[in-house]
């Protein structure tokens, strides 16, 4: 039951923002401040996820080279800054994770 509710809730909250502008097409325009705030949503949310998934290992803050996730994320970041290539970024991240794990 919990799982059904969760999926129904997620479905509604995913579909809503996708559908609303189509439903309102030609009728309203979003205030500029809201449009601006929306523009920052992906950066804010994804960075928070990356940070928490990277810096904490089993609930403990680990900022050194023993943290393989941190090594992989930093190498991926450098790759993405230089190349902006999604596939290469993932590849470099996974390979450096493997190397870091193997050396570690």
């Amino acid at each position: 039951m919990y799982e059904v509710l969760l999926i129904a809730g997620m479905m509604a909250l995913t579909f809503g923002p996708r559908y609303l502008p189509f439903a309102l097409a030609g009728r309203i325009q979003l205030p500029p401040l809201v449009t601006q705030a929306l523009e920052f949503v992906p950066v804010a949310v994804l960075t928070a996820i990356i940070t928490q998934a990277t810096l904490y290992r089993d609930g403990i803050l680990v900022i050194n080279l023993d943290n393989h996730y941190l090594v992989a994320a930093l190498c991926a970041f450098a790759t993405s800054l230089l190349t902006r290539h999604m596939f290469l970024t993932i590849l470099v991240g996974l390979v450096t994770y493997g190397i870091s794990l193997w050396l570690g």
């Binding site: 809730g9 923002p17 601006q36 393989h68 996730y69 999604m86 993932i90 994770y97």
Partner: protein, 238 residues
């Protein structure tokens, strides 16, 4: 517009989406495997891909649930993450408002980063061309079916190899997100937003129910908007 033209438009939509599907492929695989190794059932995992169909939200929901986040926090986070789709739909709505009522929910359900990117570049290349709907449909349907296939493969990989979670699969999610965020850092305000989010999320990790996560997102958005307002006083339209 006859069936042949519609079909060829849909096929070119699907064809143009292939590079993006290749990039999303490991994402779907990892989602399926990660959900299974975090203790979720195959039905639940598959249902999420079939009914929710939002990669980032699905990942976030799984990782929040696995870290015992409260139900409302999961839903609020999913909602916040999906707000970007509001932007996507808003930017396409002028091209789509002439569509029949039944077509709009279909387009909305299948709105993804990938399809939005492909359809937008088509729209800019051939402005006011008819049949954008069919092009969209081809891209979206192909994306949807691939996502289901790779979730399914991921689920089976996760079931065959029970300790897959110990392999550190979520590192793939982390680096994929890095690959999505970095190209978005175009202005000083975006960098400030990212930096705020990172520092705040790092400091508030231990807040209950993942509230530190929501707080960090809100704070980072406020910082981004404020700096944007100061450095570029003219109002921007998306």
């Amino acid at each position: 517009m006859n069936h042949k033209v519609r079909l060829s438009l849909a096929l070119s939509g699907a064809r143009d989406t292939i590079p993006l599907i290749i990039a999303a492929m490991p994402f779907g695989l990892v989602f399926g495997a990660l959900a299974i190794s975090s203790g979720f059932s195959a039905t639940f995992t598959m249902a999420m891909s079939v009914f929710v169909f939002a990669g980032a939200s699905q990942f976030i929901a799984i990782s929040l649930l696995a870290s015992a986040a409260a139900f409302p926090v999961v839903l609020i986070t999913v909602f916040i993450v999906n707000l970007r789709h509001l932007l996507y739909s808003a930017s396409l709505m002028n091209d789509m408002h002439a569509l029949a009522g039944w077509a709009k929910p279909i387009l909305s359900f299948w709105m993804t980063d990938e399809t939005f990117a492909v359809v937008t570049s088509r729209r800019l290349k051939y402005p006011k061309s008819p049949g954008l709907f069919w092009y969209y449909l081809g891209s979206a349907l192909f994306m949807y079916l691939s996502w289901q296939l790779f979730t399914w493969i991921g689920i089976h990989a996760g079931e065959q190899i029970p300790d897959l979670s110990k392999w550190g699969l979520d590192v793939a999610m982390v680096v994929a997100f890095v690959g999505i965020v970095t190209p978005l850092l175009k202005t000083k305000s975006h960098w400030a937003c990212a930096l705020t989010s990172a520092v705040s999320a790092g400091l508030t990790f231990h807040w209950p129910y993942q509230l530190g996560f929501l707080f960090s997102c809100a704070l980072a958005i406020i910082v981004g908007v404020t700096i944007n307002w100061k450095t570029r006083p003219e109002v921007q339209h998306v």
